[in-house]
């Protein structure tokens, strides 16, 4: 089962309006740097329950989805 985990995200806002997430802070306070964003698209998260802009991120050599739903960020956490 999965759950919806809202996270703090460090974002770089560029002058042309582009946004790039740089790092996220997990519930326990651990900071995960985002090495690369490989894809950005609109998508729903059936696992966590939500929909928004989906950033496919490489974090510590693993692929993770990071969602921007309105103005909050969440990831699909295992429970």
């Amino acid at each position: 089962m999965y759950r919806k985990v809202y996270v703090d995200v460090l974002i770089r806002h560029e002058k042309n309006g582009k946004i790039t997430p740089l790092a996220l802070t997990w519930e326990n306070g651990e900071v995960y740097e985002i090495d690369r964003v490989t894809q950005i698209c609109k998508a729903a998260s059936l696992k966590a329950g939500g929909a928004g802009l989906r950033f496919t991120c490489r974090i510590r050599n693993r692929e993770t989805y990071l969602f921007l739903e309105d103005d909050k960020w969440f990831v699909e956490g295992k429970s």
């Binding site: 089962m1 999965y2 698209c41 609109k42 998508a43 729903a44 998260s45 059936l46 696992k47 966590a48 329950g49 939500g50 929909a51 309105d70």
Partner: protein, 413 residues
């Protein structure tokens, strides 16, 4: 040139959105229902699993529970549904600017000029897949050459499906359906048609136009045309939808209304809200209508024209009460469950006012200035700051904001 019209219907919209957001209830029978303690306890939508228990939209939640004891009842979350509705419309707008919403969960799209994206069926498939991926809900889409058939097409196969109804196959697909499947045929019309031996959509189409007119009047002619595919009503442009034609509110009372004063209290709450919204838009109205529903859920509407345009809460309330007294007798008829009030036939307040010999118009202007002053006070100090005397006679009935639109948000100066 033949038009290509799509009708997109989000399947079980409220329930689908709720199930998307709560994975834990996705495999259970779920309904979205109102608050039972406020007597708003009816089924608004159900998911596919609840539908298998033959739970119907509009029935009471306790009835639904009898059919399915482990039913999950979720309260409605309208801001969330609005968000999803807008997100879906954003997708539709990628293909055409002719998008006409019909409620939160349905839209007509005219894609005649959108050939760059493919044929009608191809665009429908694109939209179906995109909504599923991006929003996590399913839609069923009807593709046809007019709005009525497109709507029937979206009902034909659901969920998550595309049905194409063309000039070649509409007789095979639609004509065998019972009349009640037809757009604009409700309970009363169905009964009338059945009593004349007209049972299917095809029967309606094959009657002569004159015969249909004889049974149902103007409405019959329209149905005859629609069932034969002669509907040429255009899909409206996005921006044309903003024209406001009427402003209304309705509310189910926390308890049955048994006396005239009960009705008066609720009617003035509605009049306050409708009047204020009308003044916000800068409108005056010339027609006031009320809708009444008794505790056995029978409802009807009545309306009347005013001698002159008005935006005054007092006058709207008084007219509504006159209408009520002329058309309903609480002593002989059943107690009322819900009331509605709507104003229509607008003119803009910047227009000239027709004065009259006996000074009624001036009184009316004075009343409007008073209303404007009250609006200002309420906006600044909250809606509780100034109230009509009648609303204080029963706070249980008057203690709500219709539609919740008027937040007691206090502006600071």
């Amino acid at each position: 040139m033949e038009r290509i019209v799509l009708h997109v219907d989000c399947n079980k919209f409220y329930a689908s959105v709720e199930c998307l957001h709560r994975p834990e209830i996705r495999n259970l029978p779920v309904i979205v229902g109102g608050d039972e303690s406020l007597r708003h306890g009816i089924v608004l939508t159900k998911n596919e699993i609840a539908a298998r228990y033959s739970i119907k939209t509009g029935e009471a939640i306790w009835q639904a529970r009898q059919k399915c004891p482990n039913l999950v009842v979720v309260p409605p979350n309208y801001p969330l549904y609005m968000r999803f509705s807008n997100l879906a419309r954003e997708i539709y707008c990628d293909y055409t600017d002719l998008v006409e919403p019909y409620g939160l969960d349905e839209c007509w799209l005219d894609v005649t000029g959108s050939g760059i994206f493919g044929s009608g069926r191809e665009i429908a498939e694109l939209i179906r897949r995109r909504v599923k991926k991006e929003l996590g809900i399913t839609v069923s889409i009807g593709v046809s050459y007019n709005k009525v058939f497109a709507k029937l097409g979206s009902d034909y196969k659901k969920p998550d499906a595309v049905t194409v109804i063309g000039k070649d196959n509409f007789k095979d697909l639609l004509w065998p359906l019972p009349v009640r499947e037809m757009f604009f045929v409700g309970r009363a019309t169905e009964k009338k048609l059945n009593s004349c031996g007209i049972r299917t959509i095809g029967d309606m189409a094959n009657c002569s136009r004159e015969y249909m007119k004889l049974i149902l009047g103007k409405h019959g002619e329209m149905l005859h045309a629609f069932t034969n595919g002669y509907d040429n009503d255009p899909v409206k442009h996005m921006d044309d939808m903003r024209i406001i034609k009427s402003i209304g509110n309705s509310s189910t009372a926390p308890r049955d209304l048994k006396t005239e004063n009960d009705v008066k209290v609720l009617m003035y709450v509605l009049a306050e809200s409708v009047g204020r919204r009308m003044r916000e838009q800068g409108f005056r109205c010339k027609t006031v209508g009320i809708s009444l529903r008794d505790n056995e859920l029978c409802s009807f509407v009545r309306q009347m024209k005013l001698p002159a345009y008005t935006a005054s809460t007092g006058e709207i309330g008084a007219v509504a009460m006159t209408l009520f007294k002329e058309n309903y007798n609480l002593k002989r008829q059943k107690p009322l469950r819900s009331l509605g009030l709507a104003c229509s036939d607008f003119e803009h307040e910047a227009g000239a006012v027709q004065l009259d010999l006996f000074g009624d118009a001036q009184k009316r202007l004075k009343a409007e200035r008073l209303d404007a002053a009250v609006d200002g006070l309420q906006a600044r100090f909250g809606s509780e700051s100034v109230r009509r005397g009648v609303l204080l006679t029963d706070r249980a009935l008057s203690g709500f904001e219709p539609g919740g639109s008027f937040t007691p948000f206090k502006r600071s100066f």
